[in-house]
């Protein structure tokens, strides 16, 4: 039975990911359903990074020799590839960071400092209850340091943002609205364009955490109407089949130009005197010090790989697998899915509870069957608290996931129930 929407060349794509062929202890095949945590890497990313280290390694921008030129070219080509991947209006609006957390912290920190966008006492910052901790804590720090007030959208019973009070939440006092595009716990896809439009109407900046969106949704920033386009978008490399240690902050030039520098150091300056310095333009203004060069090059290969398959096709695949998983999971007695049940309204991360077995124990039994999932609060404690649960088990698929792996998960969950002697 072929599932509609699956990537037509799934078998070939799976061959691109060498780790999917390895055996686990006891000779078990790997069933990797933890891609929202980190994705696996295709051979082309591994090879590109090895080739860079073997043949082109040098520091960038300052080395006056052939290798330096090659390394700089590879690094800047990666910026072009990332810009194309998200449809950035300008390639220089793409800033390389260490990860999405650093990108969000860059924004939250520089907004505390003097400048036209500075957040101060009496101002308000609006986030949501379904954020990852890395899109909560930086805003708590910002509002605590500046005397501003932190407010947030709640979550409805079916796991969507409660927008009923949007006009009371986003007001003339709102300076920043920061939200996730796709929830890492509930899977919910949020109406970023509509919220951005409302925030822009009151002159607020909009920051979007796209860590879970960038891997699965086609993003074309330049194609979005300006009033619906967020001002800043963050995501991380390792969830889009790239390496760890590299993240991206995209920001509209008009915003990045007026934000003060974040870290001071090499590469971010124009000129330095002992009294003071002037700064480079974007993107270098926000890239102090030697960046993660080979990681950026690897990320460039990763987004190229995804672009080659096509984000529309990957999104369709994710929806097909997610729909199949939602069906399968609901056949397991005592299992409750947290978040929307409509595969079209959600991403590929599905958190659930199983009556009578704690998530840590579920993950342990699943691991003994070769099925890798995540258990815990997934760095989204407030969202768990909203549903009155302390932790949950989460399966998350990606472009290499096949239906038989969902079958293996469902079977392993049935085994878990019998292992813990549930009827």
């Amino acid at each position: 039975m072929a599932l509609e929407g699956l990537l037509p060349e799934l078998a070939v794509i799976r061959k691109d990911f060498p780790i999917l062929e390895r055996e686990l202890a006891g000779g078990l095949p790997l069933v990797y359903l933890d891609s929202a945590n980190t994705s696996q890497k295709p051979q082309v990313v591994i090879d590109t990074m090895v080739d860079h280290l073997e043949r082109h390694n040098a520091n960038i921008a300052r080395a006056m020799h052939q290798l330096g030129a090659e390394s700089t070219e590879a690094f800047e080509a990666a910026r072009d590839k990332v810009a194309a991947f998200i449809g950035a209006p300008e390639r220089d609006e793409v800033i390389f960071t260490k990860n999405a957390s650093e990108a969000l912290n860059l924004v939250a920190n520089t907004l505390a400092w003097a400048g036209p966008r500075q957040v101060g006492a009496g101002d308000e910052v609006v986030i949501t209850e379904m954020e990852h901790h890395s899109n909560i804590v930086p805003w708590q720090l910002l509002t605590q340091r500046t005397g501003a007030t932190l407010r947030w959208f709640g979550i409805t019973d079916d796991g969507r943002l409660d927008l009923s009070a949007i006009d009371e939440l986003i007001t003339e006092r709102t300076k920043v609205v920061s939200l996730t595009w796709v929830s890492n716990m509930l899977g919910t896809i949020n109406p970023v364009a509509a919220i951005t439009k409302r925030a822009h109407a009151v002159g607020a900046l909009v920051v979007v955490d796209a860590s879970q969106a960038a891997p699965q949704l086609p993003i074309d920033l330049a194609a979005m109407p300006a009033d619906e386009r967020p001002d800043l978008v963050a995501f991380t490399g390792h969830k889009v089949v790239g390496p760890t240690g590299i993240g991206v902050l995209w920001g509209a030039r008009a915003v990045l130009d007026v934000l003060p520098p974040f870290l001071g150091g090499g590469e971010m300056i124009e000129t330095v005197r002992m009294e003071s310095s002037t700064y480079a333009g974007i993107p270098h203004k926000f890239e102090a010090g030697t960046p993660p060069i080979v990681e950026a090059v690897g990320l460039g290969a990763a987004v190229d790989y995804l672009g080659h398959i096509g984000m529309d096709a990957i999104h369709a695949h994710e929806q097909a697998i997610t729909g199949y998983a939602l069906q399968g999971l609901q056949t397991v007695k005592g299992l409750t899915v947290l978040g929307p049940l409509d595969p079209a309204a959600r991403g590929g991360a599905i958190s659930f509870e199983l009556d009578g077995v704690h998530p840590h124990d579920i993950a342990q039994v699943l691991d003994s069957r070769g099925v890798a999932v995540r258990a815990g609060h997934h760095c989204a404690k407030p969202a768990h608290a909203r549903f009155g649960v302390q932790s949950s088990t989460r399966m998350s698929s990606y472009l290499y996931t096949e239906p038989s792996e969902i079958d293996a998960l469902v079977e392993a969950l049935e085994y878990t129930r019998s292992y813990f002697k549930l009827d």
């Binding site: 202890a25 998530p359 840590h360 124990d361 342990q364 003994s368």
Partner: protein, 160 residues
């Protein structure tokens, strides 16, 4: 990990304590008790635990715990092992359990001292789960140490 490893981790005794925990629930006492709240940040297990001492003896350990089978079962075993013991003896049992859990599976447990606690020998081979097993034990030590400190001759126990 394999199916055999799984059975080594989830001994029958552990699953029994998980399903029927001993001493669970927070209990009130007329005189001083110490209460602590400990969490296991890696997996989110939580315990609120109260210790009541009477004449140098662990009179009661009551607790409210949320978490996995390993963390729940170890709170139940803790209750069985330390209630009714002198503080010094209970601390010695604590040390024995700690040594077992930190032994990476190389320590042979003494059943005379640890009773049902020997079932946790298998857990010691799973670094990710050692914290689950130790959660309530660390909470007990913390609460007991607070009580002992406030009962010492130097302090009058009326700390605000």
């Amino acid at each position: 990990m394999t199916a055999q490893d799984l059975d080594a981790l989830y001994q029958e005794i552990i699953l029994d304590h998980y399903k029927n925990p001993h001493g669970k629930g927070l209990r009130e006492h007329a005189d001083r008790t110490a209460e602590v709240h400990h969490v296991n940040p890696t997996c989110g297990d939580e315990v609120t635990l109260r210790v009541h001492l009477a004449d140098g003896v662990v009179d009661d350990v009551s607790y409210d715990a949320l978490g996995c089978s390993i963390s729940q079962a170890s709170a139940s075993v803790l209750y069985d092992l330390v209630v009714g013991k002198g503080v010094d003896e209970a601390m010695a049992i604590h040390q024995e359990f700690l040594t077992l859990m930190q032994g990476k599976g190389t320590v042979e447990p003494d059943e005379d001292v640890l009773e049902d606690g020997i079932a946790f020998a298998g857990v010691a081979k799973f670094p990710a789960r050692v914290k689950c097993a130790l959660l309530s034990w660390m909470a007990w030590k913390d609460a007991t140490a607070q009580l002992v400190a406030t009962n010492s001759p130097a302090g009058d126990g009326d700390k605000s």
